[in-house]
Symmetry: C2
Subunit: 349 residues, 2 copies
């Protein structure tokens, strides 16, 4: 079987880590033997914008729909292109138009990875982030100017979107450690979050065997630092999921390692696999970026396509590489992107 | 000079830690010699609600206006009284009606306090949180029911409220390490946060000697775990400030230690001094709660009244106590609330 993958390296280190991860994914496919990838690269991103005035062509979404999945690096060059143009013109546009309404982001203490926590206690959790609405609704406005100016932002939570994320979280917990934590803030935010809690309680009734608890986002953020091992699956709104997953990256030892998948769980359009980290323009082009976030993101694509066995092998190869001390600068090491990629390729067997 | 302080121990451990902190504050006043406190205790909170159906009497706000400051413990007994009643009927009501529009919350690596971070590197930052509007605006609603239900929450940012928090942060930075970080999320939240950024840029022009930078809340949360020593003053919206300050408590070693002040900076009404931690019903009444958050909160009241010298002595006494290993269970010790209070009193000189 051949999977046709649309590749968008994007900006900054995206252009370096994506090719590295593709090498690893090709080797994984070879190892499995039952499938292969066919990669088609699109040069969309900030350079493309500076040339054409657009982050992607007008028919970009249509083009992407012709592929099985999307493998993306990073988007953004804030010094050259304002974020609202680069992100909303490419990254968020794809998430929305492809109805990738679930964002899955695992955090796991990896062997050989120096967590900034003193006693990280083998944590292993997944954040299921609602990815299409909530606090990121493009709804709001302003009134008056000068000293009287007022800005209003509407967060919009639909029953369908909220419930979809929660069901996905409960289903995922079935195959994990049977526990779901809901990130709320209903003690301070009095319309959207009580609604969120109600839906969680209702959906939870269909999963009586799964442990379920709600934590306020402030306490939950603190818990991720104090006892991350207590969490299994966390379900969160768009904004809360965004915050918790960067924290997940931080306690793993580096944002550079955290993977993510933007899923169209109905499989009606392609999903997009894109690490948590950004384009890191400060270290781009030097061959020193950490490819592990992108590689792990590739493993999530393998999982989504059903190749769990070889996916696990990719993660193992990453762990052996780390345990051997072959680490890029963000992890306190001296290895280059090439060194790390070669080591992962070597250990992938 | 005599300061008349309204005391609201509130619920759970509030009833234990407040009297302990009052002992320390009385000793501090004695030590200084130029002022004293006169404490009047109000039994408002969830017990009061269960008896009277109200969290405080109808004229509660009027009563409080007759005092110089308010010293509060903790509010909430979620098993008995829903949070939206207990918090909005007392804590948030006071914050709003007394126009305590700035919430100040320091986080500092204390001697003898075991941070969960491996290399906490002597961090010392303060979060200035907008405390009256933003994401906590009681504005929103719902439409339709069942599968079609939609909940909308309006976050409302006024120029005045936003600017006030930012100016306060810049003024504070003048007497600290001359650096302000603004917590934003304008790459994902497209109406309120770009407005927030604009106001920050404009206010920043009046403080050209102060370093100024914006970080997205997701990255900022991660930075607090990875390099908390990089921050001096952080200015944040109501919600972001809430999250960052619980994180501040976590990296200090315990939420139980984090202090806070809800300030009416115009000094038109009393300010309210209230620690970050909650009522912790699970450990209430056992004499094992950590009083240091409340004591440190008392130090913030001393500072606000202008008694910086004796305020610093209180913090020093806390640090000596911790360095001697006299710690409650939340900090991994075996000391009781009484032990810790006695040690702080002993070292306060
Ligand atoms: C109890 C809750 C409403 C409150 C808040 O979010 O403001 C608390 O978390 C705090 O930080 O004081
Ligand atoms: C770039 C930004 C809009 C984005 C988000 O907040 O969704 C990023 O932080 C992420 O987590 O993928």
């Amino acid at each position: 079987k051949t999977y046709r993958i649309a590749v968008i390296p994007g900006d900054g280190i995206g252009k370096e880590v994506v090719p590295a991860a593709i090498e690893v994914l090709n080797k994984a496919a070879q190892l499995d033997g039952s499938f292969q990838f066919e990669w088609t690269t699109f040069p969309w991103g900030c350079d493309y914008y500076l040339e054409t005035g657009k982050m992607m062509p007008d028919n970009g979404i249509e083009i992407l729909k012709g592929y099985d999945q999307i493998f993306l690096g990073a988007v953004g060059m804030p010094d050259l292109v304002p974020d609202h143009i680069s992100l909303w013109g490419l990254l968020i546009k794809i998430r929305r138009e492809m109805k990738q309404s679930i964002n899955v982001r695992p955090a796991k203490l990896l062997q050989g990875l120096p967590s900034p926590l003193r006693n990280p206690n083998g944590f292993d959790f997944v954040v299921v982030r609602e990815n299409s609405e909530g606090e990121y609704a493009e709804s709001g406005g302003r009134i008056h100017s000068g000293q009287d100016e007022v800005a209003i932002q509407n967060a919009i939570f639909t029953r369908k979107g909220t419930e979809r994320a929660m069901r996905y979280a409960f289903e995922m917990a079935k195959n994990r450690r049977q526990h779901v934590t809901s990130a709320t803030k209903s003690n301070g935010i009095t319309y959207s979050m009580p609604f969120w809690d109600e839906v969680f309680a209702q959906v939870g009734k269909d999963y009586e065997d799964i442990g379920q608890v709600s934590n306020h986002i402030d306490a939950l953020a603190a818990f991720l630092v104090m006892k991350p091992e207590n969490f299994d699956v966390i379900v969160a709104s768009n904004l809360f999921g965004d915050i918790l997953t960067d924290l997940g990256g931080a306690i793993m030892g580096s944002i550079g390692i955290a993977p993510a998948a933007n899923l169209n769980i109905e499989r009606q359009y392609p999903s997009m696999f894109e690490p948590v980290h950004g384009s890191a323009p400060d270290i781009a082009g030097q061959g020193i970026a950490n490819p592990l976030g992108q590689i792990w993101t590739g493993k999530m694509m393998l999982d989504f396509l059903g190749y769990h066995e070889v996916g696990t092998k990719v993660l193992n190869a990453m762990e052996v590489t780390l345990a051997q001390g072959i680490k890029t600068g963000d992890l306190g090491g001296k290895a280059t992107l090439r060194d790390v990629t070669d080591a992962v390729l070597h250990h992938l067997q």
